[in-house]
Amino acid sequence: MFLRLLFESFRRQKRRKLLAGVAVALGVAVATAMIAVATDIGDKMNRELRTYGANIVAYPEEDTLDVQVGGVDLKPVSQGAYLNEADLPKIKGTFWRHNILGFAPFLPVHLAVTAGGASLPDVQLLGTYFAKPLKLGDDSFTTGVRTTHPWWKVEGAWPADDSEQVLAGEDLARKLGLKPGDRIQAGGRALEVTGILSAGPAENQGLVGPLSLAQAIAGRPGAVRQVFVSALTKPEDELARRDPASMSPEVRDRWYCSPYANSIAFQIQEVLPHARAEQIRQVAQNEGAVLNKIQGLMLLITLAALLAAGLAVSAAMATAILERRREVGLMKALGAGNVAVAALFFTEAALLALLGGTAGYAAGLLLAQGIARSIFASRVALQPVLFPLVLGVAVVVTFAGSAASIRRALRFEPALVLRGDA
């Protein structure tokens, strides 16, 4: 009898049930989309923050002091120590290799440049990787400044790695009247300028070329002055600020296995012989601050969205039940107890919540993907645990929304309701 009542209720009141179901689905869809976007925003924004460039730098441990003013390296190439280029792929072999988005080695050399009639006696040529394919074991990956320095803008084309092509900084290009495709004389070679670079003050005044070219000009094959690493890191907390030397073994393991800028730097130091790696505080510190604020904001807004969605579902359920007062009256007049009537309504509500919730979950995921694709041009990570969670919340909210109305519907005198007076 109960099942038949239930079945008939859905069969005969299709339109009304559909409306309530749509309301539940809509609320669940909004909640799912917001939760999916909010839980993923940290990762997405972390990637966007990589626009600021590398957050870890590695340099030779025994190095002399940098002599750098305004970004231009004034240290003679004969001075100081070097890292070995052959060791660099090992950076992708550390514990947190998947968090390392890329790295770029740098070797500055100074040379005289002649182009057309003009010549400059001292120009910095920065040797680096642009998008160099590398191999570590069976893994192959591409790395270079195009990943680590996304704010570098090139008018023209990027040079090929291992070639005699260079980028001319925009200030240098203005001084020498260079355009993409021009040839210049530098370091006893004829170099092709493939593009004009707009980057930092130092790069704008010099040339940027393949690492192999800078090594050949300096006469130091395999030499690298510094390596800039761009990694996805976790915002610094109390544990990250502690000195790893003073930690107990368990705490140290936890520190080692958290992707803090400091622990990733420590792991890079472990794989590169005679190297010291450090977080670049300007980038690494602020990343955490900005990320925390954005995540906090999204969390609070998600709460607001959940509240709005919960209210929408409750309101729809309340309306649906109040409209059926006469049915309640009839059932009670025929001898149904309060418990039987309430059970029927709650079962109906649960069914609606499950059906609407499933549809809403699917729609919400689509919505989240749409948002992620249009804003971040990437997919949102799926969290399977979200599905039972969202369904559970949908059932609870639907029950909460129905409870008050069901109680009210039960209180009416059957005779009054049936006469149409209530």
Binding site: L26, V30, M45, Y52, D66, A199, A284, N286, A315
Partner: protein, 379 residues
């Protein structure tokens, strides 16, 4: 009402009064139902007001966070020259309080064993404000105190003892006041206070680093003002900082906008559903009024006025609720108050009146086709 005839006003005066009375009684007698609808409007307009308020303010709040990255502009003297004495004052005037600036000067000095080291002069109070990412053990407070970079310190005075530097044949003895750590070129430098630096080297400030806050457009204006105030110097944007900020801020705003659109849509639909139900509940009043001879227009106006009154009342309360919620979010997440935007008030109120009217009109068009007798009979 406009006083163009006593009799006319008397004749039509009875109906508006009746109308207002009906309106008031309808709301007061069925208080429960009206309160439910009012609550829905309150929450919907509250959520909308909070989200809009936050959206307007969040850019300014986040921009403040981005100033942690330090300078986004740099003013540089031409090669071999120094900036004029009043350059810093000019920069401050151009910023007009919306940003910070610090002067810097650099020379390459020699250590006692002849190795080159970059020595910089700056204003420590300003540098501290500008470069909040510098990790400093102790900021110098005496003129002879120097802030020594981590790598420079391990070379110059590993035990923290005073050390000697020479520049152009002039020696200078410095005490290490604190150690500076940034992970970049600053680690290899020694920082002095600018007057001390100038007295020793004879070199004045050669560059001023500027952190200007505001939208890209406002920063461009600051650059123009700087360029015209300091014609000899070159004003350069620091693309790394500006691009990163523009990108992250743009994405955050877009995500916020999408979320806010979702929330407002949900709130509006919730409102629509509740009000529709409320009007349907009143179909008996509708039938009675029509049976007593009220015109369609009269009945429509009655329901519309009721819906609009509910909308206006709910939205007014909801707006202040929302402003409070936005202020709380601002305090909880940014440790700063979100300024209430009263300019949003008309938009929120008009919006919810519009949704309320829409919610009233939809069921009205259904009820219009029904005979009053059928409703009264309870069909």
């Amino acid at each position: 009402m406009n006083g163009d005839g006593q009799p006319r006003s008397a004749r039509s005066g009875g109906r508006p009064r009746m109308f207002v009375r009906l309106l008031l009684r309808a709301m007061l007698v069925r208080r429960g139902r009206a309160l439910t609808a009012l609550a829905a409007i309150l929450v919907a307009s509250g959520a909308t007001a909070a989200m809009l308020n936050l959206y307007v303010d969040v850019q300014a709040k986040l921009q403040r966070e981005f100033r942690g990255y330090g300078a986004n502009l740099i003013v540089v003297a031409p090669q071999g020259a120094t900036l004029p004495e009043d350059a810093l004052a000019q920069v401050d005037a151009a910023l007009a309080g919306r940003g910070t600036a610090a002067p810097f000067a650099y020379v390459i000095a020699k250590t006692s064993d002849g190795a080159p080291v970059v020595v910089a002069g700056t204003d420590f109070t300003r540098a501290r404000k500008l470069d909040s990412f510098w990790a400093v053990t102790k900021w110098p407070d005496t003129p002879a105190g120097a802030l020594v970079g981590r790598r420079a310190a391990s070379l110059l005075s590993p035990e923290g003892r005073p050390f000697d530097l020479t520049f152009g044949g002039k020696p200078l003895r410095l005490a290490q006041a604190g150690i500076l750590k940034t992970g970049a070129a600053e680690d290899s430098r020694v920082y002095l206070s600018l007057p001390e630096f100038t007295a020793w080297t004879g070199v004045g400030a050669t560059s001023i680093e500027v952190a200007a806050s505001g939208t890209p457009e406002e920063i461009r204006q600051v650059m123009q003002r700087l360029a015209s105030a300091l014609p000899g110097a070159e004003v350069r944007p620091l693309r790394q900082i500006q691009e990163g900020e523009a990108r992250v801020l743009g994405k955050t705003r877009a995500t916020l906008l999408a979320s806010i659109a979702l929330i407002i849509l949900t709130a509006a639909l919730c409102l629509l559903a509740t009000l529709t139900a409320w009007v349907m509940e009143h179909r008996k009043d509708f039938a009675v009024m029509k049976a007593l001879g009220a015109s369609h227009r009269m009945v429509n106006a009655f329901f519309a006025a009721q819906a609009a009154a509910l909308g206006a009342l709910g939205a007014t309360l909801g707006f202040f609720l929302g402003v409070g919620a936005a202020a709380w979010i601002g305090r909880a997440n940014f440790q700063a108050a979100v300024t209430p935007r009263l300019s949003l008030f008309p938009a929120v109120v008009l919006g919810s009146i519009a949704v309320a009217l829409l919610a009233a009109v939809l069921p009205m068009s259904i009820l219009r086709r029904v005979q009053p007798a059928a409703i009264l009979r309870g069909e």
